[in-house]
């Protein structure tokens, strides 16, 4: 089958909804290079993807399915904004619903790797256009007029010569019997009426009056509430527990041991099921549990970085990529820049703590929750519960933030186990402390970067990374190959311009659950590699932007640098302030940032301004993009200046926002976002704004103070 061809069998026709309806759920052969999941390297593995689900009932009501999670990144607005463009319907007239987890129906649904738009948009456009053409053809057939005289607009098909019209609902029955046409021409960008416009988000109203239903807001008749005391060391077991006091709490109904799968291992805890959240939390507090923490290492943060630093002294690691011969060039060089960067473990800490509702019955398990990967949950939970996949229904709610944490399957599985044991629908709530202390976390990483400046030219850049490989955690074993993500964040054109460049992973394993955290390895790689390039530029006595211009020969990179230079006033920057820059790639999008800092009268450094230029190729909603970059900067600020998860004797030492403090409104620097206009394929939006912030900030601080910061987090109050 040709790429993107639509075959008749893939058009699903369903009747019974308002009499008759056209349901277009269309599989397309995915364009694998656009479906770049999680890491750049596994992009080719992405297979068949089905994109969207349009439902038109006989009254003309159009419903568009958002098949991805809405966790703030804007899928609830941008998915329908794409479909409606080619379908020719007005956004105000349509309904949007979340698709349940169903790989057969929707294909890939994981909201990760900033893939919602870039992984779907071409197919969403075709899906909208195909549906429109079928409806127009149906009208032409009904009227017995030439197709060319008919056109679609605002949910209607019009006959141009006479002005007569049908609404889509009057056409669905006929349209559903037609053979889907091939090779439908799509609109050009200039023809778009919706795409590219900063339309207001359709989820805003429900998020300003309390109507939006997040996972924790889901209620079912007869639902009970549960809280779980989990072993604070993930690999530990429950030795014994005493429920006497817990059972005395009014409202507590049942206390039992529970075990939930976390990829390839099981976490253990004791569940308290009660008639209210408060009773469950009181019961959890009253539990007495004895843990069995034998058989695994109880790690300390200091040891983690000590081991990483030691290994990087001698261990060449597993090579991922190499151009030229960095080692030979280094051995001959008169001077080698040789520096180490360190980045901390991070908690996702979404505002909505982890939670899940499950309702187990022998023939059917229903789940509702803030879930990033519904089809993974369906697959994992059905296996764990030994139920056929079709009997496990995973329903989506709004997510109060996700950032990667809510792509884990542990908490829906836990809720399912508890519901089964309790014999009722149950909502499991994780306290903030549970959310913060149980992980998973972004791994802490140490980098060693070596380089040579030869007659003002960067002739060598050698990078090694020592930190946990997330895939080892999720697969339960080491692949024996270098972490695919070792060079994530580093712009590809550098490989063509630096004579000797290499990336290697120095293997470091730890019993700490590790998971993607917004922008994944680019968030830490970006700090190390871009900080290093700034150090190299300084060594070469070159302006940081000019230095990059010399190595990023790619046209889009050149245009981005020009734009960043212009909007930030880089060439006319004042001498009293510090200016820094960084440019990173993440999920097929390049973002450059300039940060300006100054010293306040009280001696403290203030961030005066952040300019961001994003090249994400084809894009949908510039206002959502701006918001994502603003948010990425703030999340990057917390990660650079405040946040570090530390371990002592295998226990996480942070508990709540009092010892893992979030940036507040006064910490928010003004952020100005610019988007490049071009015809390239879409890149990611939700994450790529984060990686360049920390290295641009520390570069600005260097410019102001002469002090290089190579370890995160650093304290803005004392630099």
């Amino acid at each position: 089958m040709e790429a993107n061809a639509i075959s008749r069998r893939n058009f699903l026709k369903i009747s019974g909804l308002a009499g008759s309806a056209l349901c277009l759920g269309t599989y397309f052969v995915a364009e694998a290079k656009n479906e770049n999941l999680i890491t750049a390297a596994n992009a080719e593995k992405a297979g068949i993807e089905m994109n969207a689900w349009i439902h038109i009932d006989t009254n003309g009501k159009v419903t568009i399915v958002d098949h991805r999670a809405e966790m703030g990144q804007g899928s609830y607005q941008s998915v329908p904004q794409i479909v409606a463009e080619e379908l020719e319907v007005d956004l105000k007239d349509i309904d949007v619903i979340f698709g349940e987890g169903n790989q057969e129906k929707f294909g890939n649904q994981i909201t990760g790797g900033s893939s919602t738009i870039r992984g779907s948009y071409k197919n969403l456009l075709k899906l909208g256009a195909t549906s429109r053409v079928l409806l127009v053809t149906a009208a032409a057939n009904k009227w017995g007029v030439p197709l060319i005289d008919c056109y679609a607009k605002s949910g209607h098909v019009f006959h141009r010569p006479t002005g007569k019209k049908f609404h889509y609902g009057e056409l669905v029955e006929v349209a559903s019997k037609l053979t889907p046409p091939q090779d439908i021409p799509l609109k050009t960008r200039a023809e778009y009426k919706l795409i590219g416009k900063p339309l207001n988000r359709r989820d805003s109203p429900a998020k300003t009056n309390g109507e939006a239903i997040f996972g924790l807001d889901k209620k079912l008749p007869g639902m009970l509430y549960a809280a779980v005391e989990r072993n604070p060391r993930m690999r530990g077991k429950v030795k014994s527990f005493d429920a006497t006091e817990a059972l005395k709490v009014p409202g507590v109904k049942k206390v039992f041991k529970v075990k939930m799968g976390v990829f390839t291992i099981y976490r253990e805890g004791v569940a308290v099921v009660a008639t209210s959240t408060w009773a469950a939390l009181q019961g959890k507090k009253a539990l007495k549990v004895t843990w069995d923490d034998t058989g695994f290492e109880h790690i300390n943060t200091a040891d983690i970085y000590k081991i990483q630093h030691e290994k990087l002294k001698t261990d060449e690691g597993l090579l991922l990529q190499k151009v030229g011969n960095p080692d030979a060039a280094i051995s001959k060089a008169a001077k080698v820049i040789d520096v180490v960067y360190q980045t901390p473990y991070q908690s996702h800490s979404a505002m909505e703590p982890v939670n899940c509702v499950a309702w187990y019955r022998p023939e059917k398990l229903e789940i509702w929750g803030p879930i990033q990967a519904p089809e993974w949950v369906q697959d994992f939970v059905s296996k764990q519960m030994k139920m056929p996949k079709k009997n496990v229904i995973v329903n989506m709610t709004f997510l109060g933030g996700g950032f990667g944490r809510k792509a884990f399957m542990d908490y829906p599985h836990e809720a399912a186990v508890i519901s089964k044991e309790a014999g009722a629908p149950v909502q499991v709530i994780w306290k903030r402390e549970d959310d913060l202390t149980q992980g998973p976390y972004r791994p802490g990483i140490t980098y060693r970067c070596q380089g040579v400046i030869d007659n003002g030219e960067m002739s060598v850049a050698k990078f090694r990374m020592a930190g946990q490989n997330i895939d080892h955690w999720s697969n339960g074993k080491s692949s024996g190959k270098a972490n695919d993500s070792t060079s994530e964040g580093f712009l590809k054109p550098y490989f063509d311009s630096i004579k000797n460049v290499s990336f290697a992973e120095v293997v470091f394993e730890a019993p700490i659950p590790a998971m993607w955290w917004r922008s994944v390895y680019a968030s830490t790689n970006g700090f190390a590699y871009e900080s290093f390039l700034n150090e190299m530029a300084h060594e070469a006595n070159k302006d940081q932007l000019d230095f990059r211009r010399a190595y990023l020969k790619d046209e889009r990179c050149q245009q981005l640098i020009d734009k960043l230079e212009k909007v930030s006033g880089w060439k006319s920057r004042d001498k009293k302030s510090g200016y820094g820059v960084a440019i990173t790639e993440c999920f097929n999008t390049t973002v450059g940032q300039v940060v300006k800092v100054s010293r306040q009268q009280n001696g403290k450094i203030k961030i005066d301004k952040v300019w961001a230029v994003m090249d994400c190729g084809w894009y949908v909603n510039p206002d959502i993009i701006a918001a994502q970059v603003e948010g990425s900067v703030l999340m990057g600020l917390g990660a650079a200046t405040t946040h570090e998860i530390t371990f002592k004797d295998g226990l996480v030492q942070q508990n709540n926002f009092y010892d893992y403090p979030m940036p507040r409104i006064a910490d928010m620097p003004p952020v100005e976002v610019h988007i490049m206009e071009n015809t390239a394929d879409a890149g990611g939006v939700g994450e790529p704004g984060l990686p360049p912030f920390a290295p641009a900030l520390t570069d600005a601080i260097f410019d102001l103070t002469g002090k290089r910061i190579r370890k995160l987090p650093f304290d803005m109050q004392t630099v």
């Binding site: 966790m71 703030g72 990144q73 804007g74 207001n200 988000r201 989820d203 805003s204 109203p205 429900a206 998020k207 300003t208 009056n209 309390g210 109507e211 939006a212 239903i213 997040f214 924790l216 807001d217 209620k219 009014p250 209210s276 959240t277 408060w278 009773a279 939390l281 800490s349 979404a350 505002m351 909505e352 703590p353 109060g400 933030g401 996700g402 950032f403 709530i429 306290k431 903030r432 206002d623 959502i624 918001a627 994502q628 603003e630 948010g631 990425s632 900067v633 703030l634 709540n656 926002f657 009092y658 979030m662 940036p663 507040r664 409104i665 006064a666 910490d667 928010m668 003004p670 952020v671």
Partner: protein
């Protein structure tokens, strides 16, 4: 049995008087717009008005609300048309949206007490509300816009 008024409606609640108001509002009265974020008065997601003043309902005992007036996000306006709600929608403030009920309830007290707040006033009044998505820049703009909308509404009366 504790009697309290929520959004103008009287409720009789049969619950532990020590239960935080948050859980009584959410689990018993059934209004879920008020959010749990930290349980320790650190994040402001649970902010409601108790007799017109902002309180963190996660650390406010139900007994303290006995016989009192509570307003939650659901009661901020009849039709999502409080100047703050209008401004929030106009400027697309919410991302994930989870903290926004609390942000709006804190901002509502600010705007009532200080109809023309400066950036510094906003930063001071909103410092107890965390947003992990980083919507602060828009919150600041939206409070200024709401202040303007409020002034216009007053002027036209």
């Amino acid at each position: 049995m504790i009697t309290l008024t929520v959004n103008g409606q009287k409720h009789k609640v049969d619950a532990d008087p020590n239960m935080p108001l948050l859980w009584a509002i959410r689990d018993i009265i059934g209004l879920t717009g008020t959010k749990y974020g930290c349980g320790a008065a650190q994040c402001g997601a649970c902010t409601v008005h108790l007799n017109g003043e902002s309180v963190r309902s996660c650390v406010t005992k139900l007994s303290r609300a006995a016989g009192q007036q509570v307003v939650t996000i659901e009661g901020l306006s009849a039709n999502n048309n409080h100047p703050l709600q209008q401004a929030w929608n106009e400027l697309n403030v919410p991302q994930c949206g989870y903290c926004q009920s609390g942000q709006l309830m804190s901002a509502a007290v600010l705007l009532r007490e200080n109809p023309q707040p400066t950036d510094q006033d906003i930063d001071d009044a909103m410092s107890g509300n965390i947003c992990r998505c980083g919507t602060y820049q828009r919150i600041r703009s939206a409070i200024h816009l709401a202040a303007e909308l409020q002034r216009k509404a007053m002027a036209s009366k």
